[in-house]
Protein backbone atom coordinates (compact mmCIF):
# COMPACT_ATOMS: atom_id res chain seq x y z
CA UNK A 1 0.00 0.00 0.00
CA UNK A 2 1.27 3.44 -0.80
CA UNK A 3 2.35 5.40 2.31
CA UNK A 4 -0.15 8.14 1.44
CA UNK A 5 -3.06 5.72 1.51
CA UNK A 6 -1.88 4.32 4.83
CA UNK A 7 -2.62 7.69 6.38
CA UNK A 8 -6.30 7.16 5.65
CA UNK A 9 -6.46 3.91 7.63
CA UNK A 10 -7.52 5.54 10.92
CA UNK A 11 -10.26 7.45 9.08
CA UNK A 12 -11.43 4.23 7.46
CA UNK A 13 -11.52 2.47 10.85
CA UNK A 14 -13.47 5.38 12.30
CA UNK A 15 -16.01 5.25 9.48
CA UNK A 16 -16.55 1.50 10.00
CA UNK A 17 -16.90 1.95 13.76
CA UNK A 18 -19.26 4.91 13.32
CA UNK A 19 -21.34 2.79 10.96
CA UNK A 20 -21.77 0.10 13.59
CA UNK A 21 -22.54 2.63 16.31
CA UNK A 22 -25.08 4.40 14.12
CA UNK A 23 -26.81 1.09 13.47
CA UNK A 24 -26.83 0.49 17.22
CA UNK A 25 -28.78 3.68 17.81
CA UNK A 26 -31.85 2.26 16.11
CA UNK A 27 -31.63 -1.24 17.64
CA UNK A 28 -33.77 -2.08 20.66
CA UNK A 29 -31.91 -4.56 22.87
CA UNK A 30 -35.13 -5.34 24.74
CA UNK A 31 -36.73 -6.58 21.53
CA UNK A 32 -35.80 -10.24 21.72
CA UNK A 33 -36.86 -12.64 19.01
CA UNK A 34 -39.52 -15.00 20.35
CA UNK A 35 -38.63 -18.67 20.37
CA UNK A 36 -42.27 -19.54 19.77
CA UNK A 37 -42.89 -18.02 16.35
CA UNK A 38 -44.54 -20.61 14.08
CA UNK A 39 -45.01 -22.92 17.05
CA UNK A 40 -48.41 -23.91 18.46
CA UNK A 41 -49.87 -21.97 21.36
CA UNK A 42 -48.82 -23.91 24.48
CA UNK A 43 -51.33 -26.17 26.18
CA UNK A 44 -52.86 -24.93 29.43
CA UNK A 45 -55.67 -25.56 31.88
CA UNK A 46 -56.46 -22.38 33.77
CA UNK A 47 -59.51 -20.48 34.95
CA UNK A 48 -61.55 -17.69 33.39
CA UNK A 49 -61.44 -14.33 35.12
CA UNK A 50 -65.17 -13.61 34.82
CA UNK A 51 -66.65 -16.75 36.38
CA UNK A 52 -63.75 -18.93 37.53
CA UNK A 53 -64.71 -21.65 35.02
CA UNK A 54 -62.04 -23.90 33.52
CA UNK A 55 -60.37 -22.70 30.33
CA UNK A 56 -58.30 -24.93 28.07
CA UNK A 57 -56.30 -24.28 24.94
CA UNK A 58 -59.09 -25.76 22.82
CA UNK A 59 -61.52 -23.14 24.16
CA UNK A 60 -59.58 -20.18 22.82
CA UNK A 61 -58.34 -21.34 19.42
CA UNK A 62 -60.27 -21.86 16.22
CA UNK A 63 -60.10 -18.37 14.78
CA UNK A 64 -57.28 -15.90 14.32
CA UNK A 65 -56.96 -13.69 17.38
CA UNK A 66 -54.66 -11.53 19.45
CA UNK A 67 -53.54 -12.75 22.86
CA UNK A 68 -52.72 -9.81 25.11
CA UNK A 69 -50.67 -10.36 28.28
CA UNK A 70 -51.67 -7.73 30.82
CA UNK A 71 -51.89 -6.96 34.52
CA UNK A 72 -53.19 -4.19 36.74
CA UNK A 73 -49.66 -3.55 38.07
CA UNK A 74 -48.47 -2.83 34.55
CA UNK A 75 -48.51 0.89 33.74
CA UNK A 76 -48.05 0.45 29.99
CA UNK A 77 -51.10 -1.84 29.93
CA UNK A 78 -53.21 1.14 30.98
CA UNK A 79 -51.69 3.11 28.11
CA UNK A 80 -52.59 0.53 25.49
CA UNK A 81 -55.99 -0.33 26.94
CA UNK A 82 -58.03 2.28 24.98
CA UNK A 83 -56.47 1.18 21.73
CA UNK A 84 -57.25 -2.48 22.45
CA UNK A 85 -60.88 -1.47 22.95
CA UNK A 86 -60.81 0.31 19.62
CA UNK A 87 -59.38 -2.82 17.97
CA UNK A 88 -61.96 -5.06 19.62
CA UNK A 89 -64.72 -2.73 18.46
CA UNK A 90 -63.43 -2.98 14.89
CA UNK A 91 -63.87 -6.76 15.06
CA UNK A 92 -60.46 -8.12 16.04
CA UNK A 93 -60.91 -10.91 18.61
CA UNK A 94 -58.65 -10.32 21.61
CA UNK A 95 -58.07 -12.81 24.40
CA UNK A 96 -56.60 -11.57 27.64
CA UNK A 97 -53.96 -13.34 29.69
CA UNK A 98 -54.14 -11.77 33.12
CA UNK A 99 -50.53 -12.26 34.17
CA UNK A 100 -49.59 -12.59 37.87
CA UNK A 101 -52.40 -10.39 39.03
CA UNK A 102 -55.09 -10.22 41.68
CA UNK A 103 -58.49 -11.35 40.36
CA UNK A 104 -60.45 -8.64 42.18
CA UNK A 105 -58.18 -5.86 40.98
CA UNK A 106 -58.37 -7.20 37.42
CA UNK A 107 -62.19 -7.37 37.47
CA UNK A 108 -62.36 -3.83 38.88
CA UNK A 109 -60.02 -2.62 36.11
CA UNK A 110 -62.24 -4.14 33.43
CA UNK A 111 -65.46 -2.72 34.88
CA UNK A 112 -63.92 0.74 35.24
CA UNK A 113 -61.93 0.99 31.99
CA UNK A 114 -63.98 -1.28 29.75
CA UNK A 115 -63.42 -4.84 28.62
CA UNK A 116 -61.96 -5.44 25.14
CA UNK A 117 -61.39 -9.15 25.78
CA UNK A 118 -63.39 -12.14 24.58
CA UNK A 119 -62.38 -13.93 27.72
CA UNK A 120 -59.58 -13.55 30.22
CA UNK A 121 -57.28 -16.41 31.14
CA UNK A 122 -56.11 -16.12 34.75
CA UNK A 123 -52.39 -16.88 34.87
CA UNK A 124 -51.73 -16.12 38.50
CA UNK A 125 -48.54 -18.17 38.81
CA UNK A 126 -47.20 -17.15 35.42
CA UNK A 127 -47.06 -20.75 34.17
CA UNK A 128 -48.63 -19.97 30.81
CA UNK A 129 -46.43 -16.89 30.74
CA UNK A 130 -43.28 -19.01 31.07
CA UNK A 131 -44.53 -21.42 28.38
CA UNK A 132 -45.09 -18.44 26.09
CA UNK A 133 -41.71 -16.93 26.90
CA UNK A 134 -43.29 -13.84 28.45
CA UNK A 135 -40.83 -11.70 30.39
CA UNK A 136 -42.96 -8.68 31.16
CA UNK A 137 -46.30 -7.12 30.36
CA UNK A 138 -47.66 -5.97 28.02
CA UNK A 139 -46.94 -8.50 25.31
CA UNK A 140 -49.25 -9.32 22.43
CA UNK A 141 -49.27 -12.52 20.40
CA UNK A 142 -50.86 -12.97 17.02
CA UNK A 143 -52.28 -16.49 16.79
CA UNK A 144 -53.81 -17.89 13.60
CA UNK A 145 -56.91 -20.04 13.22
CA UNK A 146 -54.86 -23.22 13.58
CA UNK A 147 -53.58 -22.10 16.97
CA UNK A 148 -50.08 -21.30 15.70
CA UNK A 149 -48.25 -18.25 17.05
CA UNK A 150 -47.33 -16.00 14.15
CA UNK A 151 -45.95 -12.92 15.83
CA UNK A 152 -45.05 -11.54 19.23
CA UNK A 153 -45.03 -7.84 20.02
CA UNK A 154 -43.34 -6.68 23.22
CA UNK A 155 -44.63 -3.39 24.58
CA UNK A 156 -47.61 -1.18 23.98
CA UNK A 157 -49.84 -1.81 20.99
CA UNK A 158 -50.86 1.55 19.60
CA UNK A 159 -52.10 2.79 16.27
CA UNK A 160 -48.62 2.94 14.76
CA UNK A 161 -47.69 -0.60 15.85
CA UNK A 162 -50.97 -1.93 14.52
CA UNK A 163 -50.72 -0.12 11.20
CA UNK A 164 -47.04 -0.86 10.56
CA UNK A 165 -46.56 -4.40 11.87
CA UNK A 166 -49.63 -6.13 13.22
CA UNK A 167 -52.24 -5.24 10.63
CA UNK A 168 -50.29 -6.51 7.58
CA UNK A 169 -49.69 -9.81 9.43
CA UNK A 170 -53.29 -9.89 10.55
CA UNK A 171 -54.49 -9.56 6.96
CA UNK A 172 -52.05 -12.26 5.90
CA UNK A 173 -53.32 -14.59 8.62
CA UNK A 174 -56.90 -13.97 7.61
CA UNK A 175 -55.97 -14.66 3.99
CA UNK A 176 -57.00 -11.18 2.94
CA UNK A 177 -55.21 -9.19 0.31
CA UNK A 178 -52.62 -6.66 1.43
CA UNK A 179 -54.04 -3.22 2.13
CA UNK A 180 -53.35 -0.87 -0.78
Amino acid sequence: MAPRLKLFLPLLLFVVLAGFLYRGLSLDPMNLPSALIDRPLPDFTLTALADGGVLRRADVIGEAALFNVWATWCISCRVEHPYLQQLAASGVPIFGINYKDEDDAARRWLSELGDPYRVNIVDKEGTLGVDLGVYGAPETYLVDAGGVIRYRHVGVVDERVWRDTLEPLWREVLGLEQAP
Binding site: L32, P33, A35, K100, G126, V130, G133
Partner: protein
Protein backbone atom coordinates in the same frame (compact mmCIF):
# COMPACT_ATOMS: atom_id res chain seq x y z
CA UNK B 1 -21.61 0.76 79.27
CA UNK B 2 -24.86 -1.12 78.95
CA UNK B 3 -26.15 1.71 76.78
CA UNK B 4 -23.07 1.38 74.57
CA UNK B 5 -23.66 -2.35 74.31
CA UNK B 6 -27.29 -1.84 73.38
CA UNK B 7 -26.27 0.63 70.71
CA UNK B 8 -23.73 -1.82 69.32
CA UNK B 9 -26.31 -4.56 69.25
CA UNK B 10 -28.81 -2.31 67.51
CA UNK B 11 -26.23 -1.36 64.88
CA UNK B 12 -25.31 -4.99 64.42
CA UNK B 13 -28.95 -5.90 64.01
CA UNK B 14 -29.30 -3.16 61.39
CA UNK B 15 -26.37 -4.55 59.41
CA UNK B 16 -27.83 -8.04 59.43
CA UNK B 17 -31.35 -6.94 58.58
CA UNK B 18 -30.02 -5.19 55.47
CA UNK B 19 -28.31 -8.34 54.26
CA UNK B 20 -31.35 -10.42 55.15
CA UNK B 21 -33.61 -8.42 52.82
CA UNK B 22 -31.02 -8.57 50.04
CA UNK B 23 -30.93 -12.36 50.08
CA UNK B 24 -32.83 -13.98 47.26
CA UNK B 25 -35.10 -16.84 48.30
CA UNK B 26 -33.39 -20.13 49.14
CA UNK B 27 -34.45 -23.60 48.17
CA UNK B 28 -34.10 -26.86 50.04
CA UNK B 29 -32.40 -29.57 48.02
CA UNK B 30 -32.64 -33.28 48.65
CA UNK B 31 -29.06 -33.70 47.50
CA UNK B 32 -25.95 -31.52 47.70
CA UNK B 33 -25.04 -32.24 44.06
CA UNK B 34 -28.43 -30.85 43.02
CA UNK B 35 -27.64 -27.65 44.85
CA UNK B 36 -24.29 -27.38 43.09
CA UNK B 37 -25.98 -27.90 39.71
CA UNK B 38 -28.61 -25.33 40.66
CA UNK B 39 -25.87 -22.79 41.37
CA UNK B 40 -24.11 -23.49 38.08
CA UNK B 41 -27.28 -23.39 35.98
CA UNK B 42 -28.68 -20.28 37.63
CA UNK B 43 -25.40 -18.54 36.86
CA UNK B 44 -25.45 -19.64 33.24
CA UNK B 45 -29.08 -18.72 32.60
CA UNK B 46 -29.64 -15.12 31.67
CA UNK B 47 -32.57 -13.03 32.86
CA UNK B 48 -34.66 -12.12 29.78
CA UNK B 49 -36.01 -8.94 31.38
CA UNK B 50 -32.98 -7.42 33.09
CA UNK B 51 -30.39 -8.06 30.43
CA UNK B 52 -26.75 -8.67 31.42
CA UNK B 53 -27.69 -10.28 34.71
CA UNK B 54 -27.99 -13.97 35.29
CA UNK B 55 -31.04 -15.31 37.07
CA UNK B 56 -28.98 -15.99 40.20
CA UNK B 57 -28.25 -12.27 40.58
CA UNK B 58 -31.52 -10.82 39.39
CA UNK B 59 -34.51 -10.06 41.56
CA UNK B 60 -36.92 -9.53 38.66
CA UNK B 61 -40.19 -11.52 38.93
CA UNK B 62 -39.32 -13.47 35.82
CA UNK B 63 -36.01 -14.55 37.36
CA UNK B 64 -37.82 -15.70 40.50
CA UNK B 65 -40.11 -17.78 38.29
CA UNK B 66 -37.22 -19.26 36.38
CA UNK B 67 -35.36 -20.10 39.60
CA UNK B 68 -38.46 -21.82 40.96
CA UNK B 69 -38.82 -23.82 37.73
CA UNK B 70 -35.13 -24.68 37.79
CA UNK B 71 -35.46 -25.99 41.35
CA UNK B 72 -38.58 -27.98 40.45
CA UNK B 73 -36.98 -29.53 37.40
CA UNK B 74 -33.76 -30.47 39.17
CA UNK B 75 -35.74 -32.10 42.00
CA UNK B 76 -37.79 -34.12 39.51
CA UNK B 77 -34.58 -35.48 37.99
CA UNK B 78 -34.07 -33.41 34.84
CA UNK B 79 -30.58 -33.39 33.35
CA UNK B 80 -28.71 -30.13 32.72
CA UNK B 81 -29.37 -30.47 28.99
CA UNK B 82 -33.09 -30.98 29.56
CA UNK B 83 -33.28 -27.88 31.75
CA UNK B 84 -31.42 -25.77 29.18
CA UNK B 85 -33.58 -27.15 26.37
CA UNK B 86 -36.72 -26.22 28.34
CA UNK B 87 -35.52 -22.65 28.83
CA UNK B 88 -34.27 -22.21 25.25
CA UNK B 89 -37.56 -23.52 23.84
CA UNK B 90 -39.34 -20.66 25.62
CA UNK B 91 -36.89 -17.79 25.70
CA UNK B 92 -34.57 -18.57 22.79
CA UNK B 93 -30.78 -18.87 22.77
CA UNK B 94 -30.72 -15.49 24.50
CA UNK B 95 -31.21 -17.11 27.93
CA UNK B 96 -27.88 -18.90 27.72
CA UNK B 97 -24.67 -17.08 28.46
CA UNK B 98 -22.83 -19.85 26.59
CA UNK B 99 -24.99 -20.54 23.53
CA UNK B 100 -24.09 -23.63 21.46
CA UNK B 101 -22.02 -23.14 18.33
CA UNK B 102 -24.24 -23.04 15.23
CA UNK B 103 -24.81 -20.97 12.10
CA UNK B 104 -26.54 -18.17 14.02
CA UNK B 105 -24.01 -17.92 16.84
CA UNK B 106 -20.92 -18.49 14.68
CA UNK B 107 -20.17 -14.75 14.46
CA UNK B 108 -20.48 -14.45 18.23
CA UNK B 109 -18.01 -17.25 18.89
CA UNK B 110 -15.55 -16.54 16.07
CA UNK B 111 -15.41 -12.74 16.10
CA UNK B 112 -12.98 -12.50 19.08
CA UNK B 113 -10.59 -15.05 17.51
CA UNK B 114 -10.78 -13.33 14.12
CA UNK B 115 -10.19 -9.90 15.64
CA UNK B 116 -7.24 -11.25 17.66
CA UNK B 117 -5.68 -12.80 14.55
CA UNK B 118 -6.27 -9.61 12.57
CA UNK B 119 -4.61 -7.57 15.31
CA UNK B 120 -1.64 -9.96 15.45
CA UNK B 121 -1.30 -9.83 11.66
CA UNK B 122 -1.41 -6.03 11.76
CA UNK B 123 1.35 -5.87 14.37
CA UNK B 124 3.49 -8.37 12.41
CA UNK B 125 3.16 -6.31 9.22
CA UNK B 126 4.05 -3.16 11.11
CA UNK B 127 7.14 -4.72 12.69
CA UNK B 128 8.32 -6.21 9.41
CA UNK B 129 7.94 -2.85 7.66
CA UNK B 130 10.02 -1.21 10.36
CA UNK B 131 12.77 -3.83 10.12
CA UNK B 132 12.98 -3.42 6.35
CA UNK B 133 13.30 0.32 6.74
CA UNK B 134 16.28 -0.05 9.08
CA UNK B 135 17.75 -2.82 6.95
CA UNK B 136 17.51 -0.67 3.82
CA UNK B 137 20.48 1.39 5.07
CA UNK B 138 23.07 -1.38 4.71
CA UNK B 139 25.28 -2.36 1.73
CA UNK B 140 26.06 0.64 -0.49
CA UNK B 141 24.71 3.13 2.02
CA UNK B 142 26.99 1.75 4.68
CA UNK B 143 30.06 2.13 2.42
CA UNK B 144 29.04 5.69 1.60
CA UNK B 145 28.50 6.43 5.25
CA UNK B 146 31.95 5.18 6.32
CA UNK B 147 33.55 7.13 3.44
CA UNK B 148 31.76 10.28 4.57
CA UNK B 149 32.80 9.76 8.14
CA UNK B 150 36.45 9.28 7.08
CA UNK B 151 36.52 12.45 5.05
CA UNK B 152 35.01 14.29 7.98
CA UNK B 153 37.73 12.92 10.31
CA UNK B 154 40.42 14.15 7.87
CA UNK B 155 38.90 17.60 7.73
CA UNK B 156 38.91 17.85 11.50
Amino acid sequence: MSCFKACCLALLALVFSASATAVIETYEFSDATLEARYQLLSEELRCPKCQNQNIADSNAPISQDLRRLLHQQLETGATDDEVLEFMVARYGEFVRYRPPFNAVTAVLWLAPVILLLAGAAGILLLLRGRRQESAALTADDQAQLTALLKTQEKNV
